[in-house]
Subunit: 301 residues, 4 copies
């Protein structure tokens, strides 16, 4: 079944909020997200600042210990302008680096849908018309965390959250551990473009049209967000420092290789060690994100 | 001028050792490295274990405050077998992860030069013939560090060292800060293949034929190793935790953008924030390596 | 005014829950906490596991940007037995340390109120009757965090939380930043004894009688929990890694020295650098706690 | 036997340098150290900057796998003035903290030996005559590290080095792992006073008279520096981040409790968890120092 869902409330935490929509496992949801600053596709300010979330979506049958599978069929900007910060976060630079700039005003990017590009308006002088391709992604999505928590959309954890990983793009399938009945899926923080690490604290922040399909995998327990696309399977660890995020992602991949690919611990160690690729998600937020990837081509059949 | 240099001594530290070869700026050196375990191309054990280094090579005219440019024209295995560890380092996994395995025996890989592949002999059961392409790189190279230090080839720092970054491959040009007269360039630790992070503690460890050209850039002062290939410029930060390695790499790139590409601090922040890509070098050793990259296509002309 | 408050609900998050008690600024509250496992003074299991909190207490007049002053007049065990874990957390030890033990059963301590001691029952052989003095403290207390969050009592942040600092003992005054109307003060997780770091994951966990006085300091904005006792003023930073916790605590102390002790930035740097003492709070939980202390004797009059 | 040793060379690395003195196990050495900046007791500049070291002292019979026991009988300033920095290191404060000051000029402290105090000359205004007690300590000492390394006295490791722990004071006994024949003991970097963490980058830097007794403990292998005084035994872990330093110190203490105090792994976990105290050594240098302490009063007889 397909649901057309026009959200009217937006949360700045991911938590056990009143469901905004109820769906069955396998249903598709056609919806939209407002931008990280609370601005709607139509240009109105309607949500709280700081990655306001569409949802939560209650998925029938989801229970703690299950996994929620989320196929992102579509993520595409639904308006022709986004905003972007212009200074790298101090903690990404050497302590006391004189190149820490203090520039709080944001830049506007105009989208050219015909050419699939975004161009800054009035960037710093020699970059006054910096242009990038539109490569849409969702920076923040997740399920309600354990213990009745409601956690700021500024950060992330085992439940997902503000991972800002550019691999969460159209066509990807994400997997999330379910901690509460109905899973309570949230989504928001669309970016028309983002580099690694989101070190500016933003990508090109924009409202999005999103189509996704939600499915409950009963009795499958995972520890951290996972994903797959045509070429890779991957896991995301969310913690500080980046070393700890790396530990979660790597251990989660070892578990995955054993439960789903028939490897034993020794084989999983060897295969991962021989083929791992790491991608850096968010290194701006309270929790950093490290992604541990394996090419599908090297996985056992 | 081209030097054919057959090393006879190998150091397990990078430091102010007696030069093994003197060259002029711009000279090319055709030489070889033994493997990380001290084994020569001919199968003999001749060097100390732990990334024994060929060199040091004294480059005439190099002084503290200069930069040494190293063009790696050739890095290619000079024997048909290498060795590899089989277990992921405990610190790369979650504390107490039951998938930490304790397997110290190493695996042998056989190289097929015709097909440019390497195949394991007797890998763990379902991976008994795991095969990878030959993608050679140097895991450890650098110049003598400051203050007369001699630092173990197990680790790395501003002078280079054991970075285990697979981007240090044939065709790349590396740049290193010079701390002592003559720079004193060392090289070793060739890998026929390595995944990100060197999380096994090894790649496919093998002896190599190496051809490189050394050039002094007078009066150019840099803070951390840099590199460039056809598509990217990059900087390497070496420290623990990975967060600090990231700071060094990112700050170094901001400096580079200003001194060589005519950007001011504000422009450098914005350009790097919009286009940065991070690659994970070594996360096995005492110091971890994070690489900060920018595509050449986005650099100002 | 004094309130006798017998809690009936306990939260395992610190958040914007329905107030369980309303008080005026300056009021004293005589209340009790159940233990970290949910066990009441009377031996009944009545709360959720994991540092269930008494409260929240709404303090009239408290608004975001104010500070809540909490004087702990009394913290004392209200039953004669507590429990304790027996194994050091894996992440406190070297990765792969063979001394990581896997012992999940807990030990019981019997309290001797006459001698103010606690003695283990059946500790590991040669420590079968290990005895410590009763030195009560509260491991976890805080105010509702910003953005409507409800955060697990397993962790900590600017709002306080599970800091497990043994300096939060009877006689201490704590200061907390107010993020929501009424501040919403929570308390729990009493320990009859705890070493530095809470590296077992517990102290001697016990229910407590607590008397405290709550006061709103209008218009005083602070960034992190603070405290003072007869001899010291101190600040608590809560984050991972411990280095970051140290940064928050140190920067908060610099701010305090300027706003309340008439020092300028230069003087504050020098005084803190000459006299700082650091205490390690929790290094078990998701966020670690570092405490930055200055002796009152060195403060300007 | 007692040696009066007047050093004439000073090293800014700890390494396998030519011995400056040979002693037998059990001998006492009466010597002196110059200050961290290279200034002698007599006011002359005679050494390299950056913690120049007296030594190395070769101890007959010491071999890799042994332990060197160093009893510091005397550490006392041998001149009436020392110097001190005045700004907290940027990395000790929150990234971008506006209270990072940029003050490179150093302050002079005058020592009053009659009253055992040190008073600053011209401190920042309200602290113009800040006075502290003389509490002497050695900031940097150690033995030659493994693999023929020579490591900057700016940092530290398993071999000791620049730990800046105020517990390394007169009367303490330190234990160091021996990596090379003769151990090659170095010492320097005396402080007349230092707070925790050496967050200014200096204590009160001064030249010292030092008397110490060196003894080889054959066949005793330890992993990290250890110490004991009247009240405590302690271990020092040297690494970044502070979390890793904590791991080394804690694991080393677990090992000590088993080899020397007859505890098994389970007992050692419990005893350490119940009684550990952590002290923060250097958090200024490339490697940080965390000290893990246990009161002697709780150790098994």
């Amino acid at each position: 079944m397909e649901h057309n869902f026009s959200p009217t409330t937006y949360y700045s935490t991911i938590g056990s909020h009143e469901p905004a929509l109820n769906v069955s496992s396998g249903d598709t949801v056609v919806t939209a997200t407002i931008d990280a600053g609370g601005w709607h596709a139509n240009g109105e300010f309607i949500g709280p600042r700081g990655n306001p979330q569409t949802g939560p979506i209650y998925v029938e049958g989801a229970e703690p210990g299950d996994t929620l599978k989320v196929k992102f069929e579509k993520i595409w900007p639904n308006r022709p302008h986004g905003f972007c910060s212009r200074r790298i976060a101090p903690h990404v630079l050497e302590p006391g680096d004189p190149n820490m700039v203090d520039l709080s005003e944001r830049l506007t990017f105009r989208l050219d849908f015909e050419n699939s590009t975004a161009t800054v308006e009035g960037g710093p002088s020699s970059l006054s018309d910096l242009t990038v391709p539109i490569q849409p992604m969702l920076g923040c999505f997740g399920v309600a965390p354990a213990r009745g928590q409601a956690i700021s959309t500024a950060t992330s954890g085992p439940y997902g959250g503000n991972m800002d990983y550019k691999g969460f793009a159209p066509g990807v399938t994400a997997y999330l551990p379910v901690f509460v009945e109905g899973a309570l899926f949230h989504l928001g923080d669309g970016h028309a473009w983002q580099a690694d690490g989101e070190i500016l604290g933003t990508g090109i922040e924009i409202s999005m049209d999103v189509t996704l399909t939600l499915e409950v995998i009963k009795g499958k327990e995972i520890g951290w967000p996972r994903g797959e696309n045509d070429d890779y399977i991957f896991t995301a660890g969310n913690a500080r420092p980046l070393d700890q995020a790396t530990q979660h992602a790597s251990s989660e991949m070892l578990r995955w290789l054993q439960t789903d690919y028939g490897l034993d611990s020794e084989e999983a160690n060897f295969l991962l060690g021989m083929h791992v690729e790491y991608d850096v998600g968010n290194i701006f937020d309270p929790a950093f994100t490290m992604v541990c990837k394996l090419p599908k081509s090297v996985l056992p059949k």
